[in-house]
């Protein structure tokens, strides 16, 4: 198991290293001179000032040197300073990252809490009206774009009913964005759980468990659920990355003060150090979650744990 996890951690580190290279090349991927574009809208910047910014970003050096400089600072925990405001990028991101993680975790919690039981119920009632109805709802949930669902929830619960605040950063403010992000993912989990459970229920070992005379509830809980949840756990890892991405849209709808909203602002302002920092942080979070999921998988599946 340790060998398995060691391999995963090494692969994760490799992924992050590739990201650092892409992040350095990013500035050059945009056509035109990045510093010129950055200051295109502001008047009164002198050529000296532009030259100063270019030097501070290291853009006057060759690309490999730029990369080495970037890595040198990165390994010291320095992600540079924002162009607007000159604050350390790391500080700006760390300030907002907890908000985004909170949103993504809350959404994941909702997605699993709703999706897995629905999928389980549908599998248990396979082929009945309950199953069909649940799956139609699930397809509707998957088809619904975040921004639309978010706006609808906002309209009904905040504006019409007035139960929840429209925007802000309190606990009550978390409900609507987390629901928006969670509901469509719940639909994905419901469908996956259903197909996985149906697959497991037809296995010989489930029939054997019944043949031993175990009560149905025990067979479902002990023999079906655990094996059936393995693909769902894998999906959790993948979906978490998508939820972080989805957070960018949702945070903007609900003015949730997370890194997603910050990233959109940074992109509009062409704040390259901030964008680079955001991408890097994002990739670290996604890789970390993937490793956690792999560890969880090993706990659930003895075939991995004991190999």
């Amino acid at each position: 198991m340790w060998r398995f996890l060691g391999t995963r951690i090494a692969m994760g580190a490799f992924t992050i290293w590739i990201t650092t290279i892409l992040v350095t090349l990013l500035i050059h991927a945009v056509p035109g001179d990045p510093v010129q574009i950055m200051y295109a809208q502001s008047q009164g910047t002198t050529p000296e000032q532009i030259e100063e910014v270019r030097r501070s970003l290291g853009l006057d050096r060759s690309i490999p040197v730029q990369y080495l400089m970037y890595m040198e600072r990165l390994l010291q925990g320095d992600l540079g300073a924002t162009i607007r405001g000159g604050q350390p990028v790391l500080e700006v991101i760390l300030q907002r990252l907890p908000n985004t993680l909170l949103l993504a975790c809350a959404a994941m919690f909702i997605a699993i809490l709703i999706g897995v039981p629905i999928g389980f119920l549908a599998a248990y009632r396979e082929g009945t009206l309950t199953d069909i109805a649940l799956m139609i709802i699930a397809i509707a949930g998957i088809s619904m774009p975040h921004f639309w669902l978010g706006l609808m929830l906002l309209f009904f619960f905040a504006l019409e009913l007035g139960w929840l605040p429209v925007s802000g950063n309190g606990w009550l403010n978390l409900v609507l964005p987390a629901l928006t992000l969670g509901l469509s993912n719940a639909a994905i989990f419901a469908r996956l759980t259903r197909s996985s459970m149906i697959d497991v229920m037809s296995q010989d070992y489930v029939q054997t468990a019944f043949a031993k005379g175990l009560p149905k509830a025990l067979v479902l809980r002990r023999h079906v659920l655990r094996a059936g949840l393995l693909p769902v756990v894998t999906m959790m890892g993948l979906q978490f990355a998508f939820m972080m991405g989805g957070a960018i849209v949702v945070e903007n709808i609900f003015s949730w003060n997370g890194v997603g909203r910050m990233a959109v602002e940074a992109i509009f302002q062409r704040d390259y150090p901030l964008i680079q920092g955001f991408i890097l942080t994002f990739s670290v979070v996604v890789v970390f979650v993937a490793i956690v999921i792999d560890a969880l998988y090993a706990v659930l599946d003895p075939r991995i744990r004991r190999s």
Binding site: R3, F4, G6, T7, A10, M11, Q203, D204, Y205, V206, Q207, T208, A209, F210, A211, K212, G213, L214, P215, L218, R222, H223, R226, A227, L230, L300, D301, P302, R303, R306
Partner: protein, 555 residues
């Protein structure tokens, strides 16, 4: 003696189709009743109906009296586990992969409130010991994937016997196991029956297993009972025509070979082939090496059928794949008419490939489901020949005719055919390349016995008419006895014995060959086998020595 289980007019229907049609039988304590039939005969459905494990939409009628209650009545709660136990065919999937052996053994005892948790544990350990599992206390903490197939089947048997059932239903319990392991499991079941006086319903398609195990036999076909009677009568004087056909179709390991001595010209020469598979290790760490073929040499003569025989893991399939260049060998040569196939590449290899064609075990997996049968058969001609479309169509039709199928079937897709028909198509596809050597890897082991007989006849006929040489890979000695001129016995990547089929079966020289022949079930209830030889022992695996003309044995 009064019957333990008395079944009358059992019928099962599902979606308007009758799957089991009016089956009746009695089962006495200490009796083994075999239900025999081919796939689709309804034998497994009968078992499921008795267990109350039918699919939700299936409907069972009739009566099955057990312990004063009718198991088929809707308000009867089937005494699953405690009254009737069930063992499935595939031990690899019959245990839940994510739970320990101990948990799976004890949970039903605890759930039925037969004893406390601690007592369940000690009973489970005793039972594991009883079914012949070494170090049972350690096994309790292990997971199914850490045990071999034979061990798992013992665990399943222990699991069912712990609950003290009075009837045990075993659905093809040894079909997925190697012949030596099968012998051990059958012995175990026999001991259990005679010791505990339970009634055993043994569902099987293997007449050899029936002859060895059963007291009474029920022959089923298409849901109906064809014949029911004592095992000796059924084998000696089968009444139903179907029973006679079934018995005739069974290949006999004790049959007398009437095969002519093959020519002596060498077609294929395998020299010192070695192949090691590397299991995947972690990053910066190499995995374990598994030697699948260990310095294997043999010659195949033109026009003969050479059988490669062995249990799983013996290397027989790997050797076939190395000869067909589907797997690259680590060292050694494969000379086909003096061309070394192992060092060919590119265009030369492709041109040479036509000479060696394969027929695989599972015809459900070896045909592309998205291509018509005609296109599948035509493909080798498109690659190797310059034929016009009309000529190709004509040849596809004539090939279909040769394998006993209609020319009009070329436009259909594989899923429209039965297993036996598909295997015929796979054979036609191999023939389309006009090969000199056909490698048939377990071509009939996925097929019913009556269909197996016909496919074997077809291969034999084609071999004669098309002037073929055949390498026949099989685990089934009886089939090999019927089709092979010469036999090579393999184990752990080594050839242990190689010789003419008649000599090898009549007087096996290597102890492993002798053991394999001894443990194979023979479809003859009058031939009682003695105590089984122990198979775990070390066998001589040294270089082959010629003990008789053309008969080689590892020293």
């Amino acid at each position: 003696m009064s019957a333990l289980l008395s079944v009358k007019d059992l019928s099962v229907s599902l979606g308007g189709k009758t799957l089991v049609d009016g089956i009746s039988f009695d089962l006495a304590p200490g009796e083994v009743l075999s239900i025999v039939g081919e796939s689709g005969s309804g034998k497994s459905m009968t078992a499921k109906a008795l267990m109350g494990l039918l699919p939700p939409k299936a409907n069972a009628t009739g009566t099955a009296m057990f312990d004063g209650a009718n198991l088929l009545a809707p308000d009867t709660k089937t005494p699953r586990g405690t009254g009737i136990g069930l063992i499935f065919q595939e031990p690899m999937t019959a245990l839940t992969p994510v739970l320990t052996i101990g948990m799976q053994l004890t949970e039903a005892l605890v759930s039925h409130e037969l004893c406390s948790k601690d007592e369940a544990r000690s009973r489970a350990i005793d039972m594991l010991d009883r079914v012949g599992i070494p170090v049972p206390a350690t096994r309790m903490r292990q997971y199914p994937h850490e045990l071999s197939g034979g061990m798992r089947q013992r665990v399943v048997i222990a699991m069912m016997m712990l609950l003290g059932p009075r009837v045990l239903i075993a659905d093809e319990p040894t079909t997925a196991l190697d012949v030596t392991v099968q012998a051990q499991i059958l012995d175990l079941l026999k001991e259990i029956v005679s010791e505990t006086q339970i009634g055993l319903i043994l569902i099987t398609h293997d007449m050899g297993v029936v002859a060895e195990m059963a007291d009474h036999v029920l022959v089923m076909k298409a849901g109906k009972a064809e014949e029911l009677g004592p095992v000796a009568d059924l084998f000696a004087l089968p009444v139903a025509a179907y029973t006679r056909d079934l018995l005739d179709a069974v290949p006999r390991i004790d049959a007398v070979s009437t095969r002519a001595e093959p020519e002596t010209e060498t077609l294929l020469s395998v020299r010192n082939i070695t192949k090691t598979f590397q299991t995947r290790g972690a990053l910066f760490k190499s995995g374990a090496a598994h030697r699948a073929l260990d310095d294997v040499s043999l010659e195949v003569r033109r026009g003969e059928t050479l059988a490669l025989v062995g249990e799983s893991g013996s290397g027989k399939t790997t050797l076939g794949r190395v000869i067909a260049r589907l797997t690259a060998a680590d060292a050694g040569q494969v000379l086909l008419e003096d061309t070394d196939l192992t060092c060919l590449a590119g265009r030369d290899l492709q041109a040479r490939r036509r000479a060696v064609q394969m027929v695989f075990q599972d015809p459900y997996a070896s045909l592309d489901p998205r291509q018509t049968v005609g296109r599948t058969i035509a493909e080798p001609m498109i690659i190797h020949d310059t034929l016009t479309k009309a000529e190709r169509t004509q040849r596809v039709e004539s090939l279909l005719g040769k394998v006993g199928l209609g020319a009009d079937m070329a436009r259909r897709y594989p899923h429209e055919f039965s297993g036996g028909q598909r295997q015929r198509i796979a054979i036609a596809r191999a023939m389309a390349a006009r090969p000199t050597l056909v490698i048939a890897d377990e071509p009939t082991s996925a097929l019913d016995v009556s269909i197996q007989a016909r496919v074997l006849d077809l291969l034999e006929g084609l071999k004669q008419s098309e002037d073929l040489t055949m390498l026949f890979i099989s685990h089934d000695l009886a089939v090999v006895r019927q089709i092979a001129d010469r036999v090579a016995v393999m184990r752990n990547g080594r050839i242990l014995e190689l010789g003419p089929a008649s000599a090898l079966f009549a007087a096996p020289k290597h102890p492993y060959t002798r053991a394999l022949i001894d443990v194979a079930p023979v479809p003859d209830p009058t031939r009682k086998r003695g105590k089984r030889p122990v198979l775990q022992g070390d066998y001589p695996t040294g270089p082959l020595k010629e003990v008789d003309a053309g008969h080689w044995v590892a020293g």
